[in-house]
């Protein structure tokens, strides 16, 4: 590290973004190797500046994410090996191979769950906000979602409740310009989503997705206000570098547009800024990149070696332990056919 470094936080945010990029590249590789559980893999490459938001949160704060939430969870402290294992449907994964990429969660880190229903996890932060308000715990809860959820009614119901009840809640829209194959200007009558949030009485902010420090600046203010019972909304204006899911080659957009979008790379921007401000030089940043690559390679290899869950575990955790569990079909059939007199 350079001697000029006086503030390590931006460097750490760069490292966090690099870890996300590196992780997602290997998740893509997992898929290509046929090692992922299913085809539902939504990469957050291009959206790494969300680190500016997660970095403004405190230990004990909670959050929900959407189907494209790997980056958010990693930035909140997830173990990449356990994440990778969950994505591959392994017993050692965060959810013991029951959830996968789109339903990853970890109570200890405050992750109340990734969600595969667009907007489905948003009202959960309203409920978490009620808990924290009633207990005066000082915690906040943040919903992360994409621009697609801006068309879901439950978002607006949730915004209204958060404002009405003065809840410690933030709605964070990672606008990557696409809901599957539909560009945001083909799904929204009016762009610039902050106005919608303000209409409900939320504090709204907007940040460019290639500027993690700008995201962080906006997020800090929103977090402080939310802790004070003034809920907020943050739109991070990003670009989804690749297709909706791994099979999607994005035939609905032009190579020119993609090149322009990928030029808005939060990692490239951060590298230039850190160097210009003397916080890190190219060698420092290269070492960060190399460390992330080593870490994520190890996570990938550990995952490939991990065991799948045993078949009987399918009946576990439908209900709480110690309460009546689902009856395996074989047991029912055996009872019917063995008890019946011949």
């Amino acid at each position: 590290m350079t001697e000029a470094r006086s503030n390590i936080a931006p460097v750490l945010r760069y490292a966090a973004m690099r870890r996300i990029r590196s992780f997602e590249e290997r998740v893509g590789e997992l898929f290509l190797r046929g090692q992922s559980a299913g085809s539902m893999l939504h990469l957050s490459i291009g959206e790494e500046a969300v680190v500016g938001m997660t970095d403004a949160m405190a230990p004990g704060d909670t959050f929900t994410t959407h189907h494209r939430g790997h980056g958010v969870f990693l930035a909140r402290g997830a173990d990449p090996a356990r994440m990778m294992a969950e994505i591959a449907g392994k017993e050692s994964g965060y959810c013991r191979g029951k959830g996968g990429s789109m339903h990853i969660a970890d109570r200890a880190l405050g992750h109340l769950g990734a969600n595969a229903i667009v907007g489905g996890g948003i009202p959960h932060v309203v409920g978490a906000g009620l808990t924290y308000r009633n207990r005066r715990s000082g915690q906040i809860s943040v919903a992360f979602f994409g621009d697609g959820a801006m068309s879901q009614g439950i978002l607006y119901e949730s915004m209204n409740m958060a404002a009405l009840w003065h809840l410690p809640v933030i709605f964070c829209c990672i606008n990557n310009q696409y809901g599957m194959g539909t560009r945001v200007d083909r799904s929204a009558g009016k762009l610039g989503f902050g106005g919608r949030a303000e209409a409900f009485g939320l504090i709204a902010a907007h940040a460019e997705g290639q500027e993690v420090e700008a995201v962080h600046h906006a997020a800090r203010d929103l977090v402080a206000a939310a802790r004070d019972g003034r809920p907020g909304f943050l739109e991070i204006d990003a670009y989804r570098f690749y297709g909706h899911a791994r099979m999607d080659k994005s035939p609905y957009r032009s190579p020119e547009e993609e090149a322009e979008g990928r030029a808005r790379d939060p990692l490239t921007t951060a590298r230039a800024r850190l160097a210009a401000e003397g916080l890190a030089d190219a060698a420092d940043l290269d070492r960060i990149d190399a460390a992330a690559a080593v870490e994520m390679d190890a996570a990938l290899e550990a995952d490939v070696a991990a065991a799948p869950p045993g078949l009987p575990t399918m009946f576990q955790d439908v209900y709480a332990p110690g309460t009546p569990a689902p009856r395996p079909q074989a047991d029912r059939l055996r009872a019917v056919l063995s008890e019946a007199p011949r």
Partner: protein
């Protein structure tokens, strides 16, 4: 032991539970100042304050969704869906979120919430305020489902629901709120998840729940006058459901009539009939019969509404048809 109403028993269960457990909150439309559309939560906002008895905007999906989030983070919310007919609005939060969170997240995050709602006919409230949609709930793994048919059960099953670690859908019947009966807050009728023989009989087994329990018990009295003794089993909880007493009864009587108020196709009655048919096949003297609501939307005209669902007379006539092959006049 005191005589009270089904409505008061539910209200008392909420009060007693809220006094015992400070994490319980009520969340729903008109639960506070108004006191509940059917008066169940009257006065609770004065007793427990607006932070625990929360009047929500008319946003059913987010009411249930907020209850899910509150339950995930340590509260024990009682969300109220004013009419079960509004279930269509909330099915994502109920069936995809509340029901599946524990499983999807590998057992890490439970959702100990209760969704209180009410359904059923009897008020000429027409097609969107009169349905019996318990089958929608029973179909979803992860949801517990309770439908009390007596005053004492209304109290005790709600108290029990408020100790469950998983989401419970508690469906009241609008036609039972004024039902009078004995409440003993110290003694439940039976344990959680266990059906109860409400009346013993040797000639057939009537399997039912909620308001149809009362109609079935009345039918049983009419049948007794005709020399037919019906055993009436109150299912009480539809999930979990311990089938031991059900199968034992049907194997003894050899005849089963499943009675529900819901439209019969794809109903809880169909599921119960299937289970009885599988488990009791060799003991059955007759086919398992289902008697339910007609497969139509509920019409507003009182005569049509009454005509579309079973009552004591129809249950008794159907039972006689089953037991004695005495076809009723309408057959």
């Amino acid at each position: 032991m005191t005589e009270t109403t089904y409505r008061e028993a539910i209200r008392q269960a909420l009060i007693d539970a809220m006094q015992t457990d400070p994490d319980i909150i009520l969340l729903g439309e008109e639960v506070g100042l108004y006191g509940g559309a059917y008066g169940v939560t009257k006065g609770l906002i004065d007793m427990f304050g607006a932070e625990r008895v929360i009047d929500a905007p008319i946003s059913e999906p987010a009411i249930v969704g907020a209850a899910v989030g509150a339950a995930m983070t340590g509260l024990r919310p009682v969300a109220e869906l004013m009419y079960v007919d509004f279930a269509g609005l909330v099915m994502d939060q109920l069936a995809n979120q509340a029901a599946k969170s524990r499983y999807m997240f590998g057992g890490q995050i439970g959702v100990p919430m209760v969704l209180r709602t009410q359904g059923g006919t009897g008020r000429s409230a027409a097609a969107q305020h009169s349905q019996s949609l318990e089958a929608w709930v029973m179909h979803v793994p992860g949801l517990r489902l309770v439908m009390p048919g007596t005053v004492n059960d209304a109290y005790h099953l709600l108290r029990a629901a408020l100790t469950q670690p998983d989401p419970v859908v508690f469906i009241e019947h609008k036609g039972l709120y004024t039902l009078k009966g004995d409440l003993d807050p110290a003694v439940p009728d039976a344990p959680w998840g266990v059906p109860l023989v409400r009346r013993e009989g040797a000639d057939l087994t009537i399997l039912t729940y909620s308001r149809m329990l009362q109609e079935s018990l009345a039918a049983a009295e009419a049948l007794a006058a005709r020399g037919v003794e019906a055993e009436v089993i109150d299912l009480r909880c539809l999930n979990p459901l311990d089938e031991t007493a059900i199968f034992a009864s049907v194997r003894r009587t050899g005849r089963a009539l499943v009675v529900t108020e819901a439209a019969v196709t794809g109903s809880v009655a169909s599921e119960i009939a299937a289970r009885v048919g599988e488990a009791c096949f060799d003991w059955l003297e007759e086919p398992v019969l289902r008697l339910g609501g007609e497969d139509i939307p509920i019409p507003v005209a009182p005569a049509l509404e009454r005509g579309s669902i079973p009552d004591a007379a129809l249950i008794a006539e159907t039972a006689l048809w089953l037991v004695r092959r005495e076809a009723p006049a309408w057959a």
